[in-house]
C-alpha cells in the first residue's frame, strides 16, 4: 500500500479573548500530531468531545491554517503536494480529491439553497458537468443516500436531521473524491439507514479505491468500518492501532475507558452510574504537566505526573501508544466474548484500581 496522506508535527492553537478583563489565552487544540493514511484504508479517529478531531480534519483540507507542521498529499499518479504550503488558488484542484463531510449539517448546508443546488454546486465550481449530465449525477448521488428525486426542490430546513446529514454526504461524494474525511457522518442515522450508508461507503471503497478518514464517537460503527483507529485525547494522539487489536486489547488507558463506556443495547445489562466520572476533564487551555491523561487515569503513578509519554511502538505489537506502561498494563477490550481479564497483582496491590470493585 502506498501512503496517500501524511500529517507531520501538526499543531493548532486558538487564541481566546479573556472576556472584558482577562488576558488573552492560548488553547492548544492539536499538539504535534503525526499520522499517515494509506491509500484504500479506512482510518477512524475517535476521542472525547473537544479533543480536536474536527480541527484535525479542517487542518487537513486546509479549511483553516495549521499553526505548525505539514500536511502532504501523495496523489495516486505520483508526486508530493504539500497542502500546507499552497495558497487558495493552488489548492483548488486538490479540493476535488479531498472532501470533507461536515459534522453539523445545519450549519454547513446553505439554508437559502434548494437541495438540488447544494449538491450541484461543487460540480459547477469545478466545471465537471452541466445540463442533463449534471442533473443525472445529482439525482443519482442523492438516490444513493436515500433522498428521493421529488424532494430535491426543498430547502434544508424541510428535512429531518438524518436526511440533512445524508445531503451532506451526497455533496461530498458527488465529485468522486479520492479521500473523504467523514466527520460524524452517520451519527444522526438510525441503525437501518446507517447500515445502508455504511454499505454504500464500503462499496465505493471497493469499486473506486476510496480512502476514508472516519471521525466518529460510535465505536460499534468504527469496529465495523475501520481498518485502523487513531485515539485522540486533549489534542494528542494517544494510540494508533489496527482496529481488531485495539478492540481486543487496547494499549492506552484512555482507549480502555472509551471501550468501557460503550452503551450496550440490553436494558438488563444497564451500566447505571458510570465509574468513569472520576476525575476532571482538563480544560484544553489549562493542560496538566506530564501525561495529559493522568488526572483521570486509574493507573497513574508519580512518573506520569512528571514525565510526558511520547507516542511510540508498543514492543511486540503492531500498536503505538503514548503511555509509560503500555507493555505491562493488561487493559480490557470490547469484544463480547472477551475472557475476563485478571488485573495484574502489582497494580491491584498498589490500590491502583479504584472503582473496579463491584463491576
Amino acid at each position: 500500500m502506498s501512503t496517500l496522506l501524511r500529517v507531520e508535527h501538526v499543531s493548532k492553537h486558538y487564541t481566546l479573548s479573556g472576556g472584558l478583563l482577562g488576558a488573552e489565552r492560548r488553547l492548544d487544540a492539536l499538539s504535534d500530531i503525526n499520522l499517515s493514511v494509506e491509500a484504500g484504508e479506512t482510518l477512524a479517529i475517535v476521542g472525547e468531545s473537544g479533543c480536536g478531531k474536527t480541527t484535525l480534519g479542517r487542518c487537513i483540507i486546509q479549511a483553516q491554517p495549521v499553526s505548525d507542521g505539514r500536511v502532504t498529499y501523495h496523489p495516486l499518479g505520483g508526486g508530493d503536494v504539500e497542502l500546507t504550503a499552497l495558497n487558495k488558488r493552488q489548492l483548488k484542484p486538490w479540493r476535488q480529491d479531498i472532501r470533507m463531510i461536515f459534522q453539523d449539517p445545519m450549519s454547513s448546508l446553505n439554508p437559502n439553497m434548494r437541495v438540488f443546488d447544494i449538491v450541484a454546486e461543487p460540480l459547477r465550481i469545478h466545471k465537471i458537468a452541466k445540463g442533463k449530465a449534471l442533473e443525472d449525477k445529482v439525482i443519482s448521488t442523492l438516490a444513493k443516500v436515500g433522498i428521493p428525486a421529488e424532494a430535491v426542490g426543498r430547502y434544508p430546513h424541510a428535512f429531518s436531521g438524518g436526511q440533512r446529514q445524508r445531503i451532506g454526504i451526497a455533496r461530498a461524494l458527488v465529485l468522486d473524491p479520492k479521500l473523504v474525511i467523514a466527520d460524524e457522518a452517520v451519527s444522526a442515522l438510525d441503525v437501518s439507514i446507517q447500515a445502508q450508508v455504511l454499505n454504500l461507503l464500503e462499496d465505493l471503497k471497493r469499486e473506486f479505491g476510496l480512502t476514508y478518514i472516519f471521525i466518529s464517537h460510535d465505536l460499534g460503527v468504527v469496529n465495523y468500518i475501520a481498518d485502523r483507529v487513531v485515539v485522540m485525547y486533549l489534542g494528542h494522539v494517544v494510540e494508533n492501532a489496527p482496529t481488531e487489536m485495539l478492540f481486543e486489547r487496547p494499549r492506552h488507558p484512555y482507549s480502555e475507558m472509551l471501550l468501557e463506556a460503550l452503551p450496550i443495547a440490553d436494558p438488563l445489562r444497564r451500566k447505571g452510574r458510570s465509574t468513569e466520572l472520576r476525575g476532571e476533564i482538563p480544560y484544553l487551555g489549562n493542560r496538566p504537566k506530564g501525561c495529559p491523561f493522568h488526572t483521570r487515569c486509574k493507573y497513574a503513578e508519580d512518573r506520569c505526573r512528571a514525565e510526558k509519554p511520547v507516542l511510540r511502538p508498543v514492543a511486540g505489537t503492531a500498536q503505538e501508544a503514548a503511555c509509560h506502561f503500555a507493555e505491562t498494563l493488561t487493559l480490557k477490550g470490547a469484544y463480547e466474548d472477551n475472557p475476563p481479564q485478571v488485573a495484574s497483582a502489582a497494580l491491584a496491590g498498589a490500590g491502583g484500581l479504584p472503582g473496579r470493585a463491584g463491576q
Partner: protein
C-alpha cells in the same frame, strides 16, 4: 399510578409544499409520559420524531398543520390543556414553553444565537425564570455549565458557539434547557454528537435531575444502546405512526411489531472481522409519505405482510401490561384463538 403529565392522542401533522403534494409526516401518534419517567422515542430517520416533539411546543414550520389529534398537558394539580388547540404564539403557550416544558434541539447550531456568547444566552434564560440580578444569574449559569461537564466553565461562558466543539455546544444547549428546571424535558438526540464517555456523563446527569425534580422526559434517539441505558418506556415509530409502546424490558425482550423486531436485529454486534457479517438493514427503503400504504405503513417491507395489511389500519392492541402494538398479526392470533 401517577397521573400522566402528557398524553398525545391520535396526532397527525402535515406539511404543504409549493411543488409537491401535501406531506403527512405524522399520521397516527399516541404517546403517554409520566412524571419521573423517561420515554424513549425511536425510529428510522425521517419517520417524524422531531416533528412530533416540536408539535408539543408548537414550534413547527409555518407550512405545518395539525389536522387532528390532541396533545394533553397536565402538570400535577392542574386541569389538562390541549396544546394542539392553542395558538402557537399565545400567552398560554408561552407560559408553558421554556417554563414547564423545555426542549433540547437536535442540531445545537440551529438553536443557539451565533452572535451572543453562550453565557449571555443562558443568563437570559435564568433571568426570565428566576428573580435574580445579573451577577447571580451568571453564577447560576456557570454552575449549570459545570454541571453538564463543560471544563473551564467560567471562561467558556464567554465563548461564542462557533468556538466550541460539537459536543461542548450540545452540552451548552442542555444547560440552557435545564436553566428553568422544567417539568417535562424533550431531548431530541441530545447525546448523538457526543463521545461515549461524555454521553455516559450526560445520561447520568439527566437521570440525576429526574430523581431530584421528578421531571418527565421524552428522549428521542436512534441509538438502541442509549435507549437500553436510560429509558423506562420505549415507543417505536415508523413512517409517521407509533407502532409499539411499552416497558423497556418488555420491548427489548419480546418486541411485538415486526418493525421493532427488525430494528432489534440490525444492531451492529461487537465482533471481530472474521465473524463480521455485512450489516443487514431492513429490506427495501422507506417509502415517501405520499406512497405510504393506506393500511399498515410497514407493509412494503414487512416479511409477514398478508391480506389486510395494505388496506386496513391495524388497531392498537394490548399485548401486555402497558404494552401496545399495531399489527394485524396480533389480532389475527386472538381471532384464531377465539375461533
Amino acid at each position: 399510578m401517577t397521573q400522566p403529565i402528557l398524553r398525545i392522542e391520535d396526532l397527525s401533522i402535515s406539511f404543504s409544499s409549493p411543488d409537491e403534494a401535501d406531506i403527512e409526516a405524522v399520521r397516527q401518534v399516541d404517546l403517554t409520559l409520566t412524571p419521573g419517567k423517561t420515554l424513549a422515542l425511536v425510529g428510522e430517520s425521517g419517520c417524524g420524531k422531531s416533528v412530533t416533539a416540536r408539535a408539543v411546543l408548537r414550534l413547527l414550520d409555518a407550512n405545518a398543520r395539525i389536522p387532528h389529534g390532541r396533545i394533553l398537558f397536565q402538570p400535577e394539580g392542574s386541569e389538562p390543556t390541549d396544546i394542539a388547540r392553542l395558538k402557537p404564539d399565545s400567552l398560554a403557550l408561552r407560559a408553558i414553553r421554556g417554563n414547564q416544558i423545555a426542549m433540547i434541539f437536535q442540531e445545537p447550531m440551529s438553536s443557539l444565537s451565533p452572535v451572543h456568547t453562550i453565557g449571555d444566552q443562558i443568563d437570559e434564560m435564568v433571568l426570565i425564570h428566576e428573580r435574580v440580578n445579573r451577577k447571580q444569574a451568571r453564577a447560576r449559569t456557570v454552575a449549570l455549565l459545570d454541571q453538564v461537564g463543560i471544563p473551564g466553565a467560567k471562561e467558556r461562558a464567554d465563548a461564542y458557539p462557533f468556538e466550541l466543539s460539537g459536543g461542548l455546544r450540545q452540552r451548552a444547549m442542555i444547560a440552557m434547557a435545564l436553566a428553568c428546571t422544567p417539568r417535562l424535558l424533550i431531548a431530541d438526540e441530545p447525546t448523538t454528537a457526543l463521545d461515549v464517555t461524555t454521553q455516559a456523563q450526560i445520561l447520568d446527569l439527566l437521570r440525576q435531575l429526574q430523581a431530584d425534580f421528578g421531571m418527565a422526559m421524552l428522549f428521542i434517539t436512534h441509538d438502541l444502546g442509549v435507549v437500553a441505558e436510560i429509558a423506562d418506556e420505549v415507543a417505536v415509530m415508523y413512517l409517521g405512526d407509533v407502532v409499539e409502546q411499552g416497558n423497556v424490558f418488555d420491548v427489548f425482550r419480546a418486541p411485538q411489531h415486526p418493525y421493532t423486531q427488525a430494528l432489534m436485529n440490525s444492531i451492529p454486534k461487537m465482533a471481530r472481522k472474521a465473524d463480521r457479517v455485512r450489516l443487514n438493514p431492513i429490506k427495501g427503503t422507506v417509502p415517501a409519505p405520499k406512497d405510504r400504504p393506506e393500511g399498515c405503513a410497514f407493509t412494503s417491507r414487512c416479511p409477514h405482510a398478508f391480506g389486510p395489511c395494505a388496506s386496513e389500519r391495524p388497531a392498537r392492541t394490548v399485548v401486555g401490561e402497558g404494552h401496545h402494538a399495531r399489527c394485524h398479526l396480533l389480532t389475527r392470533q386472538t381471532e384464531e384463538a377465539l375461533a
